[in-house]
């Protein structure tokens, strides 16, 4: 009996210590970060952790969560859906995190967010862009990355409202990415502006000779060409359009952003426009973005890319929602606060979380100047 009594006393003391600790605000709030920390996408995983870590540092410097400090643990998913599930299992059940940030790959995201959904833990992914992520009825998941649909409508708005183009043509690669873009652009142009594409030309993702499409577009009298493709095909189109004297503005989505495009297309790429959510150009940046670029550079010695910025914003919104939810960081309250996010001045723009958990914001338009360097074109500052 004596032994039992001793155990009970020790247990009671321990319990008391824990509860006192909580009341004093000493126990940290734990964030779990999941991402590809090794393998082919390790660079992206690295920037994901760096962006979130910087946000945690800034949140702690401004008082943490009602006096409680934020800490984080990271787990590697190796860009493998099965491993992403076990990584998030470890975060949730072993490390007992209060919320999860990550991951990168959309297939991994779709797999691992089921764990947080069942455990009812708020989960925000900075980078995964597949529309499905927020459309599977999972109330616990939020996404910072602009989906392809948002990018399509942004470039169309820019073409019609700012460039005043009236006869837009489209070239798209005939796969999920390209036709996905076309399926957004065609109805959007019709419903919002009552316009039809003057030409809509698909091409194989491995096509090299685009002259048939370009000549057709030129003959149709297009005054602007939207291309929904990746940088390599974008470079081919830019070069062949120049050769065939199709002298109209060329524009597209984030898939075109790559210095390799400029290398491949040369001066044919000058003036090309595409959408982007973040670009490390301190001159054209918003005050929030400029501050972030400076802080990131000071912390890590390199310029942040859009993934780092997404990750920073994701963690910031999560942290601010935790503050709104109160010192006990009740998970359901944190989730509700995240869903209510409106007008958050993030580094990737002014962010509203929509009914699906997607971050809506003004999308940037970046362009290639006459020296072959990217610059932010829109919004003007």
């Amino acid at each position: 009996m004596k032994a039992y009594a001793r155990v009970a006393v020790v247990a009671g003391l321990l319990l008391a210590m824990i509860s006192v600790g909580t009341a004093m605000g000493a126990a940290p709030v734990k964030i779990g970060i999941v991402g590809p920390l090794s393998g082919g996408a390790a660079m992206v995983g690295d920037t994901l952790v760096k962006g979130a870590a910087l946000a945690i540092k800034h949140l702690n410097e401004t008082g943490g969560i009602h006096g409680r400090q934020l800490t984080y643990v990271s787990e590697d998913d190796e860009q493998n859906p099965a491993k992403s599930v076990s990584a998030v299992n470890r975060l949730v059940f072993q490390h007992k995190v209060d919320a999860v940030v990550g991951t990168v790959n959309s297939s991994c995201q779709l797999a691992c967010q089921e764990v947080t959904q069942r455990a009812q833990v708020p989960h925000v992914t900075p980078i995964a862009s597949n529309p499905k992520v927020t459309r599977v009825g999972n109330k616990w998941v939020f996404r910072l990355q602009a989906s392809d649909a948002q990018q399509c409508t942004a470039i169309i708005d820019y073409a019609v409202n700012v460039l005043k183009l009236k006869k837009l043509a489209l070239m798209y690669q005939s796969d999920d990415y390209g036709t996905g873009g076309k399926d957004v652009i065609v109805p959007y142009l019709q419903e919002k502006y009552g316009m039809k594409l003057i030409a809509s030309e698909p091409f194989n993702p491995d096509a090299k000779d685009m002259s048939a499409q370009i000549l057709k577009i030129k003959n149709a009298g297009a005054d602007g060409l939207v291309m929904w493709t990746m940088y390599q095909q974008g470079a081919l189109i830019a070069r062949q359009a120049k050769q065939l004297a199709l002298q109209v503005p060329l524009m597209g989505g984030g898939g075109l952003t790559n210095p390799k495009l400029i290398e491949l297309a040369g001066d044919a790429a000058y003036g090309l426009l595409n959408t982007q959510t973040f670009f490390p150009d301190p001159k054209g940046a918003s005050p929030e973005a400029a501050a972030f670029i400076g802080a990131y550079q000071k912390e890590y010695g390199v310029l942040p890319d859009s993934n780092a910025a997404m990750s920073y914003d994701a963690m910031m919104i999560l942290g601010l929602s935790m503050r709104k939810a109160g010192a006990d960081v009740n998970k359901a309250k944190v989730r509700d606060a995240m869903a209510d996010t409106k007008g958050h001045r993030g580094v990737t723009g002014v962010i509203d979380i929509d009914e699906y958990g997607d971050a809506n914001r003004e999308i940037l338009i970046i362009g290639i100047d006459n020296k072959g360097a990217y610059e932010v074109i829109w919004p003007k500052r």
Binding site: A207, K216, Q240, G266
Partner: protein, 285 residues
């Protein structure tokens, strides 16, 4: 519009024709469908890239060196991968060509990465306007060199002693040997020639396709289709097949639907094979 599409089609078609010539040469001399042809073209394009861009040599000198390097590569590959199984079963030899193609492609991917390299258009990018027509000098040169080369090859095979030996070997290896032709040398020479012609096709297309390790796959398919279309036993058929494929792709893309561009080109091929299985210029067996 029609004429414009035709001009584009001619240029790309002449390159397809050169690629098809490689298939025809190999089919005739070696009796094998050589699926490494496209990758041979890729290697040629890389040699030109290395000599003219990486080493900064004058383009003509770089071209000569690249042709030489292609020839040497052809010689080595023949010794390592083709010669040893000359007496083997057809299916084994076919698989060997696929293996050589895969090996080459991945070797270049490891050496140069998967990203494409830009290649400046040597003949100038600035289009010449003739009325409403736009002529890109590069396309004119590609067409001219493509047909010029095909013509030279024809002359060589018809007039030169070596060419006659090659044709004799292709017709009947044993009889040619009895006539005192060094059959093995003749076959080696054919292989080197096929590699060089394919390599030149790769060099011609480099400014249009960019240069990358994976470019051979697409080029191989186009060359193969052209060769089958024109007839595997006909040199002029190869060029005709290339032209038809190039024109069909461009006209289909321009006037029917670019979504079906490739499909229409292959539909034509299927129709030809149904009604003329030996190819357009091929002889009935």
């Amino acid at each position: 519009m029609l004429l414009q599409q035709v001009i584009q089609g001619l240029a790309i078609g002449s390159v397809y024709g050169l690629l098809a010539l490689g298939y025809v040469l190999m089919w005739q001399a070696w009796g094998v469908m050589d699926f490494a042809r496209g990758d041979g073209a890729m290697v040629g394009a890389f040699y030109l890239l290395i000599f003219s861009q990486f080493k900064g040599l004058n383009i003509v000198l770089a071209f000569i060196l690249a042709v030489g390097a292609s020839a040497l590569t052809g010689f080595v590959v023949e010794r390592i991968a083709y010669r040893p199984i000359l007496g083997g079963r057809d299916i084994n030899r076919l698989i060997a060509t696929i293996g050589v193609g895969m090996f080459t492609r991945n070797l270049y991917r490891v050496m140069f990465g998967a990203d494409p390299f830009p290649f400046p258009s040597v003949f100038g990018d600035n289009p010449i306007h003739v009325g409403k027509l736009i002529i890109v000098p590069q396309n004119l040169w590609i067409t001219a060199i493509g047909f010029g080369l095909a013509y030279l090859l024809r002359l060589f095979l018809a007039k030169s002693w070596m060419g006659k030996a090659m044709r004799a070997t292709a017709q009947d290896r044993e009889t040619a040997a009895l006539m005192g032709i060094k059959v093995k040398n003749s076959m080696t020479f054919t292989f080197v020639l096929a590699t060089v012609i394919g390599g030149i096709a790769g060099m011609l297309i480099a400014p249009l396709y960019f240069v990358m390790a994976d470019m051979g796959a697409l080029m191989g398919i186009k060359g193969y289709a052209s060769a089958v279309l024109g007839g595997l036993d006909s040199m002029s058929g190869a060029m005709v097949g290339g032209l038809i494929l190039g024109l069909a792709e461009n006209l289909a893309g321009g006037f029917i639907s670019s979504g079906y561009q490739t499909a229409i080109a292959f539909l034509i091929m299927i129709l030809v094979l149904i009604f003329r299985p030996q190819g357009i210029m091929g002889r009935r067996q």
